[in-house]
Subunit: 242 residues, 3 copies
């Protein structure tokens, strides 16, 4: 599993992964394309949750950002929200977000003459979202200042912001999202970096973990010479809504 | 106001801004999203015109390009076209262009096996337009060879070329343009540049100054390691037409 | 003709170019936009074939990749497939591919949570295709490790992969492709490279050589600071299908 090399699974995986019969999932397996099995979803959930935990550990070491809606002092506990009854789940997507311990950030509004999204027909274009968590920018060159796992966490943060914009565009109802159509991911790196796909996988994995098959998308992953405010990752998206 | 720091407003703003009751507009204010007030439009007109004047001043110092359709020797006078009766205004968009003292360049035709635009359904895809004014390329790395204001002026030039292509695609009738859907702006910069949004604002501001609310768009702004012919900015666009 | 400077045409052009009455074509001519004449198509066929031969020569020197479906020991002979009767031609597009001596590669399937293409309405979004031939990556910085012609060959390889994905999306029937709408080409280069358009022309030329007028597209060509796995070129595409 990406991002958890050299640590026992029990040190990394959230408790709920062991409470729901997913323990014997074969490491290293990858999803095919097509109908998503319950097992595949489980793998994605664990991969994302694992990556998030690694991210939290590193961020804690660095005294860094709080993940939106999570308690940094006890990330495993915060991740284990599937038995939390205080928020009634409005739909399957919100449920998955909650199971993953993820909360969508506020949909950022640009301070300029452009807008967060434009809907034309059923196609929703969302502006490039920069890597930010809980209002703090995730900055640096991936491969130099940040390692690939940290870059993937930055891409996850972009994906959460994209979903927050989609939710805002859908009047708060994510069930109107029919499909993630395309993502273009820009990684802030030096000229010798070659792991753009692993970085942007952080966003792709999150989309599929949260949305299932409708989260699968076309994608490009490239390096930018530099990104706004020095952020590590910027991702724009095209979505089909109804 | 971007680009006019340290100079009195009367030194920078075109005369018409003082003849039309916009003098007491509060500096630093930014538009929200939504219906565009007359005051907001005024601010945009002035911001763009101010940026253009700064651009002209710098270009004059450097003995550089002529702005399309304007008299470099007297930019303020050239900008003050709202009382110019010799060209009948065909519609509100053309009127705004004229008020701003802007003239669309010829729509450049690529010398290769691609085309300036493709219309599919109501969606118009316009090829990346490189920063060029009156046939001369605006070259250099923003943040090194050009400062941010000059970069914003380069982005304005790209936006003018995009509009010229849209006009050509609409058979010369810009009233068929329903909406600017998305811009992707590539800034030619070194790896430590972080003001991509301020640069691409030159294009976003111009779109809104010329088109009003239908000029508001989704956007991504990133740095490219290098751009064709060494230009400072390249911007591509998606537009909804009818 | 790009890529064949300093060599006699008879040294470069495939034999079929001289057997079909195209010998007296004026070098340096470029197509306009609009209906494609037989002469224009001939020029494109020759330009692409010439670029491919130069590519083969260089690749052979370097002990490199085999071009998909072609015999490296005798590229001219392999290119001369128009008299090859063993494969019945299913349609005009397949016929042109065969005339050019080109074979579409297998449509690569990403090993991750994204997919090679997504169809929404009649619009097909194809993921960024990296430069690869016969399963081997074409790597390096264009302008440093590779020259512009080699970069154009890398872009041709990306275009072949894009067409392979379109064919897969169309259930194997390329006649369902109505139009190439837009390509975005990312060139792996240093900061002083300025020939991005000549590189991406490799893809644009191939699209028009294979598809005729429906191959003409809107386009952006920029440099990326770095690309996945160190490849020289990555190109994504939008297509209209029926």
């Amino acid at each position: 599993m990406r991002g958890v090399r050299g640590r026992a699974a029990t040190d990394i995986l959230p408790a709920w992964a062991f409470e729901t019969g997913w323990r014997h999932w074969p490491p290293g397996a990858r999803d095919g394309i097509g109908a998503m099995s319950r097992g595949a979803l489980a793998r994605d959930l664990r991969r994302v949750a694992g990556a998030a935990e690694v991210f939290f550990a590193k961020v804690k070491q660095q005294g860094g950002f709080a993940f939106p809606g999570r308690d940094l002092a006890s990330p495993r506990r915060a991740a284990c929200r599937h038995d939390d009854k205080e928020n009634p789940m409005s739909n399957e997507i919100e449920e998955r977000l909650q199971t993953l311990g993820l909360t969508l950030p506020d949909a950022p509004v640009p301070a300029a003459n452009y807008v967060p999204y434009v809907l034309t027909g059923n196609t929703l274009y969302v502006s490039g979202q920069i890597s930010m968590m809980d209002g703090e920018l995730i900055k640096g060159k991936v491969g130099a200042d940040l390692d690939v796992d940290q870059g993937a966490a930055a891409a996850m943060a972009c994906a959460l912001s994209l979903l927050a914009q989609v939710k805002a565009a859908c009047g708060g109802d994510l069930t109107r999202l029919k499909r993630v159509v395309k993502l273009v991911g820009f990684v802030n790196s030096l000229g010798n970096f070659t792991d753009q796909p692993k970085v942007i996988n952080g966003a792709s994995d999150l989309m599929v973990a949260v949305l299932g098959d409708k989260g699968r998308h076309a994608r490009s992953a490239v390096s930018a010479a530099a990104l706004p405010l020095g952020v590590a990752v910027e991702i724009e998206g095209i979505f089909e809504v109804e």
